[in-house]
């Protein structure tokens, strides 16, 4: 049985070859696309479980492709890029990517990140509450349904996992590393910029005034804390 279907989008044929050989060797099914346009066309047919997306491609480019994929589906996207500045990472995460891997990378690292991105935490962890309500915020952990300010809110899987972890630890400051490892996996911990981007996205969706958040507050130098509305 296949470990999952991965769409590799890269304009460089050698990289596609290596990816295919390696990922198939690890039990994944692999489809390929040479450009963002080709990737989006292919998506309408068979849905992959994950997309490995090159950032720098001719045509519409990685960021645009990422936005288009994330707008139409919940498929996790990992951006691959030769650029390693924080600005580039933040741009990729802002576009909806789950993760960002700098080229060149070791295959173990990539495999770990693929596993982390495909891992979906169970809809309701053992012993946890099934639902949560506080002020104008309602969360149904089972159906992954969120309502805020009286409106239905659509969170991406990572955004939902992040919100859930904070809610589960409401009132306590959650350190960056703990939050990263809870949401992305044990290989993470040194990517505070991931949290900045995802926390901002969640704030935009659930807070009345995202620049003055009342639910998710920043604990300087430590992490984030969820404040239940009293």
């Amino acid at each position: 049985m296949s470990a999952g279907k991965i769409l590799v989008v890269d304009d460089d044929p050698q990289i596609r070859r290596v990816m295919k050989a390696t990922l198939v060797g690890h039990g994944y099914e692999v489809t390929e696309a040479r450009t963002g346009e080709e990737a989006l066309e292919g998506l309408s047919g068979e849905m992959p479980n994950l997309v490995l997306l090159d950032m720098n491609m001719p045509g519409i480019g990685g960021l645009e492709t990422c936005r288009a994929i994330c707008a139409g589906s919940d498929i996790p996207v990992i951006i691959l890029s030769v650029r390693n500045t924080e600005k580039d990472k933040v741009a990729a995460l802002d576009a909806g990517a789950d993760d960002y891997v700098t080229k060149p990378f070791g295959i173990e690292e990539l495999l770990a990140r693929i596993r982390a991105a495909m891992r979906r935490s169970p809809s309701s962890p053992e012993g946890g509450p099934r639902a949560f309500a506080s002020g104008d915020l309602e969360i149904d952990f089972e159906t992954r349904h969120v309502r805020a300010q009286g409106r239905d809110v659509r969170l991406t899987p990572k955004e939902f996992d992040l919100l859930r972890y904070l809610v589960m630890h409401a009132g306590k400051p959650v350190p960056h590393r703990e939050l990263l490892q809870a949401v992305w996996g044990p290989d993470y911990g040194d990517e505070p910029e991931y949290l900045r981007v995802f926390v901002n996205q969640v704030r935009k969706k659930i807070e009345a005034n995202p620049s003055k958040p009342k639910y998710i507050v920043t604990e300087p130098w430590v992490g984030y804390r969820f404040v239940a509305d009293l």
Binding site: V18, A21, V82
Partner: protein, 481 residues
């Protein structure tokens, strides 16, 4: 021409007198009023001199033909004397008033004409493009607008003198030669215009405020001094405007070439890293299941791919620094954050480093990523060049308006003659020339980054005791969190 006008004026007066004396036989009052009308007409049409001559003729004729005793230039009746004097005064005053009005009209007309010419001159000058072109075409433009036979312009920023060319004919050529280059240069320093009406040469400085842009000379039929000043000012404004325009398009093209450089550097980085990505992914994949006999060789490929990658990154970073294309995104940042970011980027198996950051330090104004890269480079060097187990200490403290971050090691130290050159590109210390991996660009890049921040980097060292690398960045107001 003028003579004919005088003759005509006299003829008109004579005609009025003759008709009234012999044909119509009117009284003195009618004759006097008609003569006044005639004088008014003359002064309106031709001017004061003609009207004055006509007035004198009219007064004499009136007295001779219409005042008793008729046929003499004497006056008998005292009443007639009053009438005669009244006539005389009226004739002279009318002709003066009328001439005054006429002069004003002529002046207004001349003013309008000069305005029109100035306007035409401005319009043509504005189309000349570059500042030099505006200056060189000015001579033709001003000749056309003001009908001078020749003109010259001294363009001070370029140190050039432009003269109306051979198309103006030998007369024009000779005329411009009447004004020497030296005279033009002197005029550029002059405070005001100077007009030599005899030789028909007008010189005017061309300046904007206190800045001299040169001078101009108009030859034959120079316009009024006021107009000359206006032309000088307009030329200055037109040239200054063209200069500003030149400047703007130059900086635009410089910006474009900078953008091109950045794009080239980015694509160079991309083109080197793309094949490295395939190599690295392939070799790490092979390493996972490799036999021990192959593992050593595959590890070498993996390590060398990493080394090539670092090399490529350093070459691009160096090129960017040398092109002045380092893109800093400065923000207030704590020294502690810079240090901890740098240390977290070290390999997990690196030797532990002691951190010694003074409390309550002000924030620094820096790009956190680049600043951390400098610390990382210095710490890597310290770890690389000092014996295993010896301490490496990273410190941060305030010195006046600066925050100084230091990295100290207990390595072999750096000889005095090498200390100055250690930040040079490709420089390798004598002791380490052959035994340590590296590109010789790390410290040069660190220096480039620090200097791009307006900071300073230096080393203090005691051979045999160790070295301390310092760099200083500007501190800003607030206190560290």
């Amino acid at each position: 021409m003028r003579v004919w006008r005088f003759a005509a004026a006299l003829l008109l007066v004579a005609a009025v007198l003759a008709v009234y004396r012999w044909v119509l036989a009117v009284n003195a009052v009618t004759a006097a009023l008609t003569l006044l009308l005639a004088i008014l007409a003359i002064s309106t049409l031709w001017g004061l001199a003609e009207a004055t001559v006509a007035s004198i003729a009219a007064v004499l004729g009136f007295n001779y033909f219409f005042l008793e005793p008729i046929g003499t230039l004497t006056i008998q009746d005292p009443q007639n004397i009053v009438a005669f004097v009244a006539f005389l005064i009226t004739a002279v005053t009318t002709s003066q008033l009328s001439a005054y009005a006429r002069r004003r009209t002529a002046e207004a007309e001349a003013g309008r004409l000069e305005m029109e010419r100035l306007h035409a001159l401005v319009q043509t000058m504005m189309l000349r493009g570059s500042a030099r072109n505006t200056a060189s075409e000015f001579v033709q433009d001003v000749m056309q607008a003001f009908g001078c036979s020749a003109a010259a312009f001294y363009y001070r920023p370029g140190g050039e003198v432009f003269r109306s060319g051979p198309e103006t004919g030998s007369v024009g050529r000779a005329a411009t030669d009447a004004v020497s280059d030296d005279a033009l240069r002197a005029a550029a320093e002059a405070l005001d215009v100077s007009v030599d009406r005899e030789r028909g040469i007008a010189l005017a400085p061309v300046r904007l405020g206190v800045r001299s842009l040169g001078s101009m000379a108009l030859i034959s039929a120079p316009p009024s001094e006021q107009t000359l000043r206006a032309i000088g000012n307009l030329a200055a404004i037109a040239i200054e405007r063209a200069r500003a325009f030149d400047e703007a398009s130059r900086s635009e093209s410089a910006r474009q070439s900078e953008a091109l450089k950045t794009a080239l550097l980015d694509s160079l980085a991309h083109d080197i890293k793309t094949p490295l990505t395939s190599i690295k992914a392939a070799v790490t994949s092979l390493l996972e299941a490799a036999q021990p006999s192959q593992r050593e060789l595959l590890t070498i490929i993996d390590e060398e791919a990493d080394r090539l990658n670092r090399l490529a990154a350093e070459v691009v970073a160096m090129a960017r620094i040398e092109a002045g294309k380092l893109h800093l995104e400065k923000r207030p940042v704590a020294a502690a954050e810079i240090v901890s970011n740098a240390l977290s980027a070290l390999p997990a198996d690196a030797r532990p480093v002691t951190v010694n950051v003074a409390p309550e330090l002000p924030l620094v104004d820096a790009d956190p990523e680049f600043a951390a890269q400098v610390v990382k480079q210095l710490v890597e060097n310290a770890l690389k060049y000092s014996p295993g187990g010896s301490p490496v200490v990273v410190s941060a403290e305030r010195r006046d308006a600066r925050i100084v971050i230091g990295v100290a090691d207990r390595g072999p130290g750096i000889e005095e003659n090498e200390r100055a050159r250690i930040f040079d590109k490709f420089f390798r210390g004598r002791l380490h020339r052959f035994d340590t991996k590296g590109t010789g660009m790390g410290l040069a890049i660190a220096k480039g980054i620090v200097e791009a921040h307006g900071g300073r980097i230096w080393v203090e060292s005691e051979p045999g005791q160790g070295s301390v690398f310092y760099f200083a960045l500007a501190a800003i107001g607030g206190r560290e969190n």
